[in-house]
Protein backbone atom coordinates (compact mmCIF):
# COMPACT_ATOMS: atom_id res chain seq x y z
CA UNK A 1 0.00 0.00 0.00
CA UNK A 2 1.09 3.57 -0.66
CA UNK A 3 1.26 5.59 2.53
CA UNK A 4 1.64 9.35 2.33
CA UNK A 5 4.01 10.85 4.89
CA UNK A 6 3.32 14.55 5.36
CA UNK A 7 6.45 16.63 4.83
CA UNK A 8 6.59 19.72 7.02
CA UNK A 9 10.19 20.66 6.71
CA UNK A 10 11.80 19.37 9.89
CA UNK A 11 10.58 15.82 10.36
CA UNK A 12 12.74 12.72 10.39
CA UNK A 13 10.70 11.18 7.61
CA UNK A 14 13.36 8.66 6.54
CA UNK A 15 12.80 6.46 9.61
CA UNK A 16 9.06 6.35 8.93
CA UNK A 17 9.67 5.37 5.30
CA UNK A 18 12.07 2.65 6.50
CA UNK A 19 9.61 1.25 9.05
CA UNK A 20 6.84 1.15 6.42
CA UNK A 21 9.23 -0.62 4.02
CA UNK A 22 9.81 -3.30 6.70
CA UNK A 23 6.05 -3.94 6.51
CA UNK A 24 5.91 -3.96 2.73
CA UNK A 25 4.33 -0.50 2.43
CA UNK A 26 5.65 2.27 0.23
CA UNK A 27 6.06 5.61 1.99
CA UNK A 28 5.71 8.71 -0.17
CA UNK A 29 6.96 11.94 1.43
CA UNK A 30 5.01 14.98 0.23
CA UNK A 31 3.13 18.09 1.33
CA UNK A 32 0.86 18.05 -1.75
CA UNK A 33 -2.76 18.53 -0.54
CA UNK A 34 -4.34 16.35 -3.25
CA UNK A 35 -2.00 13.46 -2.50
CA UNK A 36 -2.83 13.83 1.21
CA UNK A 37 -6.60 13.85 0.66
CA UNK A 38 -6.56 10.86 -1.70
CA UNK A 39 -4.14 8.52 0.13
CA UNK A 40 -5.55 5.38 1.75
CA UNK A 41 -3.40 6.15 4.78
CA UNK A 42 -1.44 9.21 5.88
CA UNK A 43 1.27 9.57 8.51
CA UNK A 44 1.86 12.94 10.15
CA UNK A 45 5.35 12.38 11.59
CA UNK A 46 6.87 14.02 14.61
CA UNK A 47 10.12 15.90 14.94
CA UNK A 48 10.56 19.64 15.13
CA UNK A 49 8.78 22.53 16.78
CA UNK A 50 5.03 23.16 16.80
CA UNK A 51 5.13 26.70 15.41
CA UNK A 52 7.31 26.05 12.37
CA UNK A 53 5.42 22.82 11.66
CA UNK A 54 2.05 24.67 11.67
CA UNK A 55 3.38 27.46 9.45
CA UNK A 56 4.61 24.86 6.96
CA UNK A 57 1.38 22.84 7.04
CA UNK A 58 -0.73 25.97 6.43
CA UNK A 59 1.43 27.40 3.63
CA UNK A 60 1.48 24.15 1.68
CA UNK A 61 -2.25 23.52 2.08
CA UNK A 62 -1.53 20.27 3.93
CA UNK A 63 -3.49 21.54 6.97
CA UNK A 64 -6.73 21.81 4.99
CA UNK A 65 -6.10 18.43 3.35
CA UNK A 66 -5.68 16.80 6.77
CA UNK A 67 -8.97 18.36 7.96
CA UNK A 68 -10.71 17.01 4.88
CA UNK A 69 -9.39 13.52 5.68
CA UNK A 70 -10.84 13.55 9.19
CA UNK A 71 -14.15 14.86 7.83
CA UNK A 72 -14.10 11.79 5.52
CA UNK A 73 -12.99 9.58 8.44
CA UNK A 74 -9.95 8.48 6.42
CA UNK A 75 -7.04 6.95 8.31
CA UNK A 76 -4.42 9.42 9.52
CA UNK A 77 -1.72 8.43 12.00
CA UNK A 78 -0.10 11.27 13.95
CA UNK A 79 3.21 10.43 15.61
CA UNK A 80 4.52 12.44 18.61
CA UNK A 81 4.44 16.09 17.47
CA UNK A 82 2.12 14.83 14.70
CA UNK A 83 -0.44 13.85 17.34
CA UNK A 84 0.08 17.08 19.29
CA UNK A 85 -0.48 19.21 16.16
CA UNK A 86 -3.86 17.52 15.67
CA UNK A 87 -5.29 19.12 18.84
CA UNK A 88 -6.81 22.59 19.23
CA UNK A 89 -3.88 24.29 20.92
CA UNK A 90 -0.31 23.74 22.15
CA UNK A 91 1.59 25.58 24.88
CA UNK A 92 4.81 25.06 22.89
CA UNK A 93 6.63 28.09 21.40
CA UNK A 94 4.57 30.53 23.49
CA UNK A 95 1.22 29.10 22.31
CA UNK A 96 0.29 27.75 18.88
CA UNK A 97 -3.14 26.99 17.38
CA UNK A 98 -3.29 23.37 16.19
CA UNK A 99 -5.06 21.63 13.31
CA UNK A 100 -8.10 20.95 15.52
CA UNK A 101 -8.62 17.48 14.02
CA UNK A 102 -9.38 16.24 17.54
CA UNK A 103 -10.51 18.00 20.74
CA UNK A 104 -7.76 18.54 23.24
CA UNK A 105 -4.70 20.57 23.99
CA UNK A 106 -0.99 20.18 24.62
CA UNK A 107 0.80 21.16 27.81
CA UNK A 108 4.37 20.95 29.03
CA UNK A 109 5.40 17.93 31.09
CA UNK A 110 5.78 18.93 34.71
CA UNK A 111 6.73 15.62 36.32
CA UNK A 112 9.86 13.53 36.05
CA UNK A 113 12.85 14.24 33.84
CA UNK A 114 12.13 16.42 30.80
CA UNK A 115 12.38 15.48 27.98
CA UNK A 116 10.76 12.15 28.83
CA UNK A 117 13.14 9.88 26.95
CA UNK A 118 13.21 6.15 26.57
CA UNK A 119 11.10 3.02 26.53
CA UNK A 120 7.96 2.94 28.64
CA UNK A 121 5.04 0.55 28.97
CA UNK A 122 1.71 1.29 27.37
CA UNK A 123 -0.59 -1.01 29.27
CA UNK A 124 -3.45 -0.94 26.75
CA UNK A 125 -1.04 -2.12 24.03
CA UNK A 126 0.73 -4.68 26.21
CA UNK A 127 4.23 -3.52 25.30
CA UNK A 128 6.98 -0.95 25.81
CA UNK A 129 7.49 1.75 23.18
CA UNK A 130 10.04 4.53 22.64
CA UNK A 131 9.05 8.01 23.82
CA UNK A 132 10.96 11.29 23.32
CA UNK A 133 8.85 14.32 24.28
CA UNK A 134 8.57 17.36 26.53
CA UNK A 135 4.87 18.07 25.93
CA UNK A 136 1.79 15.93 26.51
CA UNK A 137 -1.70 15.78 25.03
CA UNK A 138 -4.86 16.15 27.11
CA UNK A 139 -7.88 14.91 25.18
CA UNK A 140 -11.29 13.30 25.75
CA UNK A 141 -10.31 10.92 22.93
CA UNK A 142 -7.39 9.37 24.84
CA UNK A 143 -7.44 5.57 24.61
CA UNK A 144 -4.06 4.56 26.09
CA UNK A 145 -1.73 5.89 28.76
CA UNK A 146 1.88 5.46 29.85
CA UNK A 147 2.88 6.70 33.35
CA UNK A 148 -0.25 8.96 33.39
CA UNK A 149 0.81 10.43 30.03
CA UNK A 150 -1.63 10.10 27.11
CA UNK A 151 0.04 7.53 24.84
CA UNK A 152 -2.68 7.23 22.18
CA UNK A 153 -5.85 8.96 20.98
CA UNK A 154 -8.39 7.69 18.46
CA UNK A 155 -11.42 9.36 16.87
CA UNK A 156 -12.99 9.47 13.40
CA UNK A 157 -10.13 7.81 11.54
CA UNK A 158 -7.46 9.84 13.30
CA UNK A 159 -5.08 7.79 15.44
CA UNK A 160 -2.41 9.64 17.40
CA UNK A 161 0.47 8.15 19.36
CA UNK A 162 2.90 9.94 21.64
CA UNK A 163 5.54 7.22 21.20
CA UNK A 164 7.52 6.54 18.03
CA UNK A 165 6.31 3.23 16.52
CA UNK A 166 8.99 3.57 13.80
CA UNK A 167 11.63 3.54 16.56
CA UNK A 168 10.08 0.96 18.86
CA UNK A 169 11.59 -2.21 17.40
CA UNK A 170 9.33 -5.25 16.88
CA UNK A 171 6.61 -3.81 19.15
CA UNK A 172 6.46 -0.65 17.04
CA UNK A 173 6.35 -2.51 13.72
CA UNK A 174 3.52 -4.70 15.01
CA UNK A 175 1.63 -1.58 16.11
CA UNK A 176 2.12 0.07 12.69
CA UNK A 177 1.00 -3.10 10.90
CA UNK A 178 -2.19 -3.29 13.00
CA UNK A 179 -2.85 0.42 12.59
CA UNK A 180 -2.55 0.30 8.80
CA UNK A 181 -4.37 -2.99 8.24
CA UNK A 182 -7.96 -1.62 8.12
CA UNK A 183 -6.98 0.91 5.45
Amino acid sequence: MKVVIVDYGAGNTRSVVAALAHLGHEGVVTSNPDAIVDAPAVVLPGVGSARSAMVHLKTTGAAGALRERTANRSLTLGICLGMQLATDHSEEDGGVAGLALISGDVVRLTRGRVPRLGWAFVEALGDAFYFAHSYVVRSPHAVAWSDDVVAAVSVDGFVGVQFHPEKSGPAGLDFLARCLSPA
Binding site: N12, R14, A18, S49, G118, A120, H133, K167
Partner: protein, 251 residues
Protein backbone atom coordinates in the same frame (compact mmCIF):
# COMPACT_ATOMS: atom_id res chain seq x y z
CA UNK B 1 9.30 7.01 34.40
CA UNK B 2 10.77 5.36 31.31
CA UNK B 3 12.86 2.21 31.79
CA UNK B 4 16.63 2.38 32.24
CA UNK B 5 18.43 2.25 28.89
CA UNK B 6 21.49 0.32 27.80
CA UNK B 7 23.24 2.06 24.91
CA UNK B 8 26.09 0.42 23.00
CA UNK B 9 28.51 2.97 21.51
CA UNK B 10 30.19 2.26 18.18
CA UNK B 11 33.29 4.20 17.17
CA UNK B 12 33.29 4.85 13.46
CA UNK B 13 36.12 5.96 11.17
CA UNK B 14 35.79 6.34 7.41
CA UNK B 15 32.50 4.49 7.34
CA UNK B 16 33.69 1.44 9.32
CA UNK B 17 33.38 0.47 12.98
CA UNK B 18 36.81 0.54 14.59
CA UNK B 19 38.34 -0.34 17.91
CA UNK B 20 41.30 1.53 19.33
CA UNK B 21 44.09 -0.86 20.24
CA UNK B 22 46.40 1.95 21.21
CA UNK B 23 46.18 5.67 20.54
CA UNK B 24 47.47 5.30 17.01
CA UNK B 25 46.28 1.87 15.91
CA UNK B 26 42.68 1.33 14.90
CA UNK B 27 41.42 -2.13 14.13
CA UNK B 28 38.52 -2.55 11.70
CA UNK B 29 35.82 -4.56 13.47
CA UNK B 30 33.05 -4.45 10.92
CA UNK B 31 30.32 -2.81 8.95
CA UNK B 32 28.28 -0.28 10.98
CA UNK B 33 24.97 -1.41 9.51
CA UNK B 34 25.58 -5.11 10.27
CA UNK B 35 26.82 -4.40 13.78
CA UNK B 36 23.93 -2.00 14.46
CA UNK B 37 21.49 -4.74 13.50
CA UNK B 38 23.26 -7.28 15.73
CA UNK B 39 23.18 -4.94 18.73
CA UNK B 40 19.55 -4.14 18.05
CA UNK B 41 18.76 -7.87 17.96
CA UNK B 42 20.73 -8.28 21.20
CA UNK B 43 18.36 -5.87 22.95
CA UNK B 44 20.08 -2.48 22.68
CA UNK B 45 17.62 0.27 23.67
CA UNK B 46 19.41 2.81 21.53
CA UNK B 47 22.76 3.16 19.76
CA UNK B 48 25.40 5.87 19.63
CA UNK B 49 27.70 6.23 16.63
CA UNK B 50 30.76 8.32 17.32
CA UNK B 51 32.68 9.41 14.26
CA UNK B 52 36.21 9.54 15.68
CA UNK B 53 37.84 10.52 12.37
CA UNK B 54 35.34 13.23 11.43
CA UNK B 55 36.63 16.05 9.26
CA UNK B 56 34.60 18.47 7.14
CA UNK B 57 35.86 16.72 3.98
CA UNK B 58 34.51 13.39 5.15
CA UNK B 59 31.05 14.67 6.15
CA UNK B 60 29.48 12.97 3.12
CA UNK B 61 30.72 9.55 4.29
CA UNK B 62 29.01 10.06 7.64
CA UNK B 63 25.73 11.17 6.07
CA UNK B 64 25.73 8.13 3.77
CA UNK B 65 26.35 5.87 6.75
CA UNK B 66 23.55 7.48 8.77
CA UNK B 67 21.11 6.89 5.92
CA UNK B 68 22.13 3.24 5.56
CA UNK B 69 21.72 2.69 9.31
CA UNK B 70 18.32 4.45 9.36
CA UNK B 71 17.07 2.18 6.59
CA UNK B 72 17.56 -0.98 8.66
CA UNK B 73 17.42 0.06 12.31
CA UNK B 74 14.04 0.32 14.11
CA UNK B 75 15.46 1.64 17.39
CA UNK B 76 16.68 5.21 18.01
CA UNK B 77 20.26 6.23 17.34
CA UNK B 78 22.47 9.21 18.06
CA UNK B 79 25.35 10.43 15.92
CA UNK B 80 28.29 12.36 17.33
CA UNK B 81 31.64 13.55 16.09
CA UNK B 82 32.08 16.30 13.58
CA UNK B 83 28.77 18.09 14.17
CA UNK B 84 30.04 21.67 14.01
CA UNK B 85 27.13 23.69 12.66
CA UNK B 86 23.33 23.67 12.48
CA UNK B 87 23.74 22.59 8.84
CA UNK B 88 25.82 19.57 9.96
CA UNK B 89 23.14 18.65 12.51
CA UNK B 90 20.41 19.04 9.85
CA UNK B 91 22.22 16.73 7.45
CA UNK B 92 22.61 14.05 10.12
CA UNK B 93 19.02 14.28 11.41
CA UNK B 94 17.45 14.53 7.98
CA UNK B 95 19.44 11.45 6.93
CA UNK B 96 17.63 9.52 9.66
CA UNK B 97 19.46 9.98 12.98
CA UNK B 98 17.18 10.69 15.93
CA UNK B 99 19.67 12.77 17.85
CA UNK B 100 22.98 14.51 17.42
CA UNK B 101 25.64 14.59 20.09
CA UNK B 102 27.56 17.87 20.46
CA UNK B 103 30.85 18.07 22.32
CA UNK B 104 33.88 20.28 21.56
CA UNK B 105 31.99 22.60 19.23
CA UNK B 106 29.27 23.22 21.84
CA UNK B 107 31.92 24.32 24.34
CA UNK B 108 33.48 26.71 21.80
CA UNK B 109 30.09 28.03 20.66
CA UNK B 110 27.28 27.17 23.09
CA UNK B 111 24.69 28.88 20.86
CA UNK B 112 24.92 25.79 18.62
CA UNK B 113 22.92 23.95 21.29
CA UNK B 114 20.14 26.59 21.17
CA UNK B 115 20.07 26.52 17.37
CA UNK B 116 19.73 22.73 17.03
CA UNK B 117 17.17 22.51 19.86
CA UNK B 118 15.04 25.30 18.35
CA UNK B 119 14.94 23.54 15.00
CA UNK B 120 14.54 19.89 16.05
CA UNK B 121 13.45 19.99 19.70
CA UNK B 122 15.47 19.36 22.86
CA UNK B 123 14.97 15.59 22.57
CA UNK B 124 17.19 15.68 19.46
CA UNK B 125 20.16 17.27 21.26
CA UNK B 126 22.65 15.36 23.39
CA UNK B 127 25.55 17.28 24.87
CA UNK B 128 28.53 15.02 25.54
CA UNK B 129 30.83 16.09 28.35
CA UNK B 130 34.26 14.53 28.88
CA UNK B 131 35.24 15.14 32.50
CA UNK B 132 38.47 14.88 34.46
CA UNK B 133 38.79 16.15 38.04
CA UNK B 134 35.66 18.26 37.64
CA UNK B 135 36.98 20.01 34.52
CA UNK B 136 35.50 19.78 31.01
CA UNK B 137 37.89 18.42 28.37
CA UNK B 138 37.40 18.67 24.61
CA UNK B 139 38.91 17.26 21.42
CA UNK B 140 38.63 13.64 22.43
CA UNK B 141 39.66 14.35 26.01
CA UNK B 142 43.00 15.88 25.03
CA UNK B 143 42.39 19.56 25.79
CA UNK B 144 41.41 20.98 29.15
CA UNK B 145 38.98 23.90 29.08
CA UNK B 146 38.37 26.49 31.77
CA UNK B 147 34.86 25.13 32.32
CA UNK B 148 33.70 23.11 35.33
CA UNK B 149 31.55 20.05 34.66
CA UNK B 150 28.43 20.74 36.74
CA UNK B 151 27.91 24.40 35.70
CA UNK B 152 28.52 23.46 32.05
CA UNK B 153 25.98 20.64 32.25
CA UNK B 154 23.44 23.07 33.72
CA UNK B 155 24.12 25.69 31.04
CA UNK B 156 23.90 23.08 28.26
CA UNK B 157 20.50 21.84 29.46
CA UNK B 158 19.22 25.40 29.93
CA UNK B 159 20.20 26.13 26.34
CA UNK B 160 18.32 23.11 25.04
CA UNK B 161 20.30 19.90 25.53
CA UNK B 162 17.74 17.18 26.14
CA UNK B 163 20.26 14.81 27.65
CA UNK B 164 23.82 14.86 29.01
CA UNK B 165 26.22 12.09 27.98
CA UNK B 166 28.80 12.18 30.75
CA UNK B 167 32.14 10.42 30.37
CA UNK B 168 34.69 10.18 33.13
CA UNK B 169 38.08 10.24 31.38
CA UNK B 170 39.77 8.64 34.38
CA UNK B 171 37.35 5.69 34.42
CA UNK B 172 37.01 5.27 30.66
CA UNK B 173 38.45 2.01 29.33
CA UNK B 174 39.48 0.70 32.76
CA UNK B 175 36.42 -1.51 33.25
CA UNK B 176 36.41 -0.94 37.01
CA UNK B 177 33.05 0.81 37.32
CA UNK B 178 31.54 4.19 36.46
CA UNK B 179 32.26 7.42 38.35
CA UNK B 180 29.06 7.31 40.40
CA UNK B 181 29.87 10.42 42.38
CA UNK B 182 30.32 12.58 39.27
CA UNK B 183 27.22 11.11 37.61
CA UNK B 184 25.15 11.72 40.72
CA UNK B 185 26.37 15.30 41.05
CA UNK B 186 25.49 16.14 37.43
CA UNK B 187 22.13 14.40 37.55
CA UNK B 188 21.18 16.24 40.74
CA UNK B 189 22.03 19.56 39.08
CA UNK B 190 20.05 19.13 35.84
CA UNK B 191 16.39 18.31 35.12
CA UNK B 192 17.06 16.27 31.95
CA UNK B 193 18.03 12.61 31.83
CA UNK B 194 21.74 11.71 32.05
CA UNK B 195 23.70 8.91 30.34
CA UNK B 196 26.65 7.49 32.29
CA UNK B 197 29.75 6.64 30.31
CA UNK B 198 33.19 5.28 31.02
CA UNK B 199 34.19 2.34 33.17
CA UNK B 200 31.70 -0.49 32.64
CA UNK B 201 33.44 -3.75 33.50
CA UNK B 202 30.56 -5.91 34.70
CA UNK B 203 26.78 -6.16 34.95
CA UNK B 204 27.19 -4.99 38.54
CA UNK B 205 28.92 -1.77 37.40
CA UNK B 206 26.18 -1.01 34.88
CA UNK B 207 23.41 -1.75 37.40
CA UNK B 208 25.05 0.62 39.91
CA UNK B 209 25.15 3.39 37.29
CA UNK B 210 21.52 2.79 36.32
CA UNK B 211 20.51 3.26 39.96
CA UNK B 212 21.84 6.84 39.90
CA UNK B 213 21.00 7.92 36.34
CA UNK B 214 18.82 7.16 33.34
CA UNK B 215 20.98 5.27 30.87
CA UNK B 216 24.40 3.67 30.56
CA UNK B 217 26.73 3.73 27.60
CA UNK B 218 28.60 0.47 27.09
CA UNK B 219 31.53 0.05 24.75
CA UNK B 220 34.42 -2.36 25.33
CA UNK B 221 32.34 -4.60 27.61
CA UNK B 222 30.16 -5.66 24.66
CA UNK B 223 32.57 -5.13 21.78
CA UNK B 224 34.07 -8.60 21.77
CA UNK B 225 30.75 -9.89 20.50
CA UNK B 226 27.32 -8.26 20.28
CA UNK B 227 25.87 -11.50 21.72
CA UNK B 228 27.36 -10.44 25.05
CA UNK B 229 24.81 -7.65 25.23
CA UNK B 230 21.99 -10.15 25.65
CA UNK B 231 23.78 -11.84 28.54
CA UNK B 232 24.65 -8.48 30.10
CA UNK B 233 20.98 -7.44 30.04
CA UNK B 234 19.91 -10.64 31.78
CA UNK B 235 22.53 -10.18 34.51
CA UNK B 236 21.53 -6.54 35.05
CA UNK B 237 17.88 -7.53 35.42
CA UNK B 238 18.84 -10.21 37.95
CA UNK B 239 20.45 -7.40 39.96
CA UNK B 240 17.04 -5.74 40.19
CA UNK B 241 17.19 -3.06 37.47
CA UNK B 242 14.17 -3.19 35.15
CA UNK B 243 15.02 -3.03 31.46
CA UNK B 244 12.82 -3.16 28.38
CA UNK B 245 11.33 -6.65 27.95
CA UNK B 246 12.67 -8.53 24.94
CA UNK B 247 10.28 -9.55 22.26
CA UNK B 248 10.81 -10.80 18.77
CA UNK B 249 8.39 -9.74 16.11
CA UNK B 250 5.38 -12.05 15.63
CA UNK B 251 5.36 -13.85 12.30
Amino acid sequence: MPLARLIPCLDVANGRVVKGVSFSTLRDVGDPVELAQLYSDGGADELVFLDIAATPERAATTVGLVARVADVLTIPFTVGGGVRTLADASRVIESGADRVSLNSRAVADPSLIDAVARRYGTQAVVVAIDALDGVVYTHGGREATGASVVPWAVEATERGAGEILLTSIRHDGHRRGYDLELIGAVRDAVSTPVIASGGAGSAHDVAEALRVCDAALVASIVHDSPGELERLREEIEKLGVALRPRRRRDG
